[in-house]
Amino acid sequence: MAASPAAALAPAGLELRFAILDIYAAYAACLDEQRYNEWPDFFVDDCIYRVQPRENFDRGLPLATLAFESKGMLRDRVYAITQTLFHAPYYQRHIISGIALQAQRADGYDVTASYLVLRTKQNEPTEVFNTGRYVDVLEWQDGELKFRSKLAIFDSELIANSLIYPI
C-alpha cells in the first residue's frame, strides 16, 4: 500500500512520536551499554539489518558491510562479537538526532534519523568512528515497536580499521 505523508498522522501521532523516540533511545542505550544479547530483540524475526557504505547505497550497489536478514543472523553476530571475533575492545556512544517520521504504511512506519557513533578504545582519546543516517521501518508487535528493517547508511568513506559492534 502506498505510504501516506506523516502530516496526515496528526493529531493521533503524538503518542506514536514519543514511542518512536523511546525505541531509538533504548536502542542506543542497549548498544552503548554493551547489552548485546538484547540487541536482536529490537527486531522482528524476519528483519533486515544492514550497515552499508553510502556510496553503495547511492549507486544501487547491493554490497553491505554487514547484511543480515533474520533475527537468527543477528544472534550469530552477537555470538561472534562476544565469543569469537578477535578485536581490541572499545566503547561506543550513539548520538541519534533528527528522528523523523516520514510516512505511515499499512503495517508500519518509515522513520529516518541521523546518527553519530563515537568510539573510545582503551587508553585512547575518543574519536568519531562512524556517521550516517538510519533508514528504518518500524511496526507494532504485541504492543511494542520493533524494527522490521534498519539500514545504517554511513557517510564515513573509510572504516577506522574494523567495525565489530552493531551500529
Partner: protein, 418 residues
C-alpha cells in the same frame, strides 16, 4: 635512468636469513620511500580496477598506485587509459570524484584541458589577449602542448582486470605474473564479464607489507579465525598448495574445504568451538561452482598492490594503497559474473559477511595487523621469526609453512638492496 639515492640507508639486514625480518622495515621512513620508488613506481604492475567499473566510453574511476592518484578511463574509441591525477601546469589533482563520466579532463584551476588519453588539448589564453591591436601575455611561442600532457601510464587489461605501471619498461603482465600464478589468475578471470557488487573501504594502521604477509600466511587462519577452523573453511588438515612465481613475490594459496569439526588439528586451538552452530546458516550456504576445478579457496597475492580473493562463493579484489609507513587503505571490490543467477548473487552477498572490515574472518586480520605494528614500533631493532616449515623457500603441498613470506622477503631484499 634511476638517480642514486641521495642518502644511503642506515639500515643493515641483521643476517643472511629471510626467516628473520627486522621490525624497522615496517616503520622506517627511508625504507618506505625506497619501497614506493622501487615497488610501486618502477618495475612492477599495480592494480587499478576492473574493466566493468568503466563500462561506457567516458567512464572513469579514480584509483591509487602507491601514494600517487591516477585515473583509469575508457576513451571514446573503447581503449582504456590510465593517467596520473595531476595537472601538468600546477600539480592540481584535478579529479576529485571516485567515479563519473567525462568528455575530457579539465583542471578547475586554470582550465587546462586534456583528452581522455592524457594529451593536453586546451590552454586558456595561450596566445595572449589582444588589446588595442597588441597581443598581451600568453605562453611563449615555443610552448609545445604535446610536451605537457598528463603522465601516461602503461596499461595491461587481462580478462577484465586492469593493471598499470609508471615504468614504460615493465615486462608484459603475463611475464610479470609468471607461469605458476597465471593459471590461478585466469581461473577466476577467464574473460567472463564481471558485475560489481560494491565496495568496502578501510584504513588499517599498519605497514602495507603486513597485508601481503597476512595473505601469504596459511598458518593463522585456522587459529585466529574461529569460523574457518570450526566450519572447515581453512585449517591445517585440508588438502592445499602454496605456490609462488619464480621471483617469489606473488603467491597463490589454494585449498579445499573439509567438513570441519573436531580433529587432531583442533586440539589445543582455543578458537575452535566444537558445538558452534549458526542460528541462520544461510551465511554459509556454499555451492560448488564448475569453474573452481577443485579448490574451494584460492587467495592470490599479486605483489605489491592487490589480493585476489576466491573464498567459496565470495569473490573480491583487495587493493592495497600505502599511506605512510604505518598505515594503508584497503579497498575491497566485491564482484560476481554476468551469468550469475539471482540466487548466486544473493549467496555471494551473504558470504560477504565473512569478509571486509566487519567480516567474521577479516575484521580480526585488520585488528592483528594493527597490534603487530604497535608491537614492532616499540622496538625497531627486534625481528620476526618466520620458521614454520623450515628456513628454506619452496612451493609446498601443505599449509603448515611460512615459506611464502620467506619468499617475499628474499625478493624484497634483492630489490631493496638490503
Amino acid at each position: 635512468m634511476n638517480a642514486p639515492d641521495p642518502l644511503p640507508l642506515r639500515r643493515d639486514w641483521p643476517s643472511d636469513a629471510v626467516s628473520r625480518v627486522p621490525f624497522w622495515v615496517y616503520s622506517d621512513p627511508d625504507i618506505y620511500r625506497r619501497e614506493l620508488e622501487r615497488f610501486f613506481y618502477a618495475g612492477h604492475w599495480c592494480y587499478v580496477g576492473l574493466v566493468a567499473e568503466i563500462a561506457r566510453a567516458g567512464d572513469f574511476k579514480r584509483s591509487w598506485i602507491g601514494e600517487r592518484s591516477v585515473v583509469m578511463v575508457r576513451n571514446h574509441d573503447g581503449a582504456i587509459h590510465v593517467v596520473e591525477n595531476r595537472c601538468a601546469h600546477r600539480g592540481v589533482a584535478f579529479c576529485q570524484q571516485n567515479f563519473g563520466n567525462r568528455r575530457d579532463f579539465v583542471c578547475p584551476y586554470h582550465q587546462w584541458t586534456y583528452d581522455l588519453s592524457g594529451n593536453l588539448i586546451g590552454v586558456p589564453l595561450r596566445r595572449g589577449v589582444k588589446s588595442n591591436g597588441k597581443v598581451e601575455g600568453g605562453m611563449p611561442a615555443d610552448f609545445a602542448p604535446q610536451e605537457h600532457g598528463l603522465t601516461k601510464l602503461k596499461v595491461a587489461a587481462r580478462n577484465g582486470i586492469v593493471f598499470a605501471s609508471f615504468d614504460p619498461k615493465v615486462p608484459s603482465l603475463e611475464d610479470y605474473l609468471g607461469p605458476t600464478i597465471l593459471p590461478y589468475f585466469d581461473r577466476t578471470f577467464d574473460g567472463r564479464e564481471l558485475t560489481i557488487l560494491g565496495y568496502s573501504r578501510q584504513r588499517i594502521p599498519g605497514n602495507w607489507k603486513l597485508m601481503q604477509e597476512n595473505i601469504k600466511d596459511p598458518y593463522h587462519p585456522g587459529l585466529l579465525h574461529t569460523w574457518f577452523v570450526t566450519f572447515g573453511l581453512w585449517r591445517a588438515d585440508q588438502k592445499s598448495r602454496m605456490l609462488m612465481d619464480e621471483h617469489c613475490r606473488h603467491a597463490a594459496m589454494a585449498s579445499s574445504r573439509n567438513q570441519g569439526g573436531k580433529a587432531a588439528v583442533t586440539q589445543g586451538v582455543t578458537t575452535f568451538r566444537e558445538n558452534l552452530a549458526l542460528d541462520d546458516a544461510r551465511v554459509l550456504d556454499v555451492v560448488s561452482e564448475p569453474w573452481w576445478n577443485g579448490p574451494s579457496v584460492v587467495m592470490q597475492t599479486i605483489f605489491p598492490s592487490v589480493v585476489l580473493q576466491q573464498q567459496v562463493n565470495s569473490l573480491s579484489t583487495r587493493h592495497i594503497m600505502p599511506k605512510g609507513p604505518g598505515s594503508f587503505d584497503f579497498v575491497w571490490t566485491h564482484f560476481g559474473f554476468k551469468g550469475d543467477s539471482e540466487e548466486m548473487t544473493r549467496r555471494r552477498l551473504r558470504q560477504a559477511n565473512l569478509f571486509g572490515p566487519a567480516g567474521y574472518v577479516s575484521a580480526d586480520d585488520g585488528e592483528v595487523i594493527e597490534l603487530s605494528q604497535d608491537g614492532m614500533a616499540q622496538t625497531p631493532d627486534g625481528r620476526t621469526i618466520i620458521e614454520l616449515g623450515g628456513r628454506d623457500i619452496a612451493n609446498t603441498e601443505h599449509m603448515v609453512t611460512e615459506t611464502l613470506i620467506r619468499g617475499m622477503y628474499r625478493y624484497y631484499r634483492k630489490v631493496m638492496e638490503l
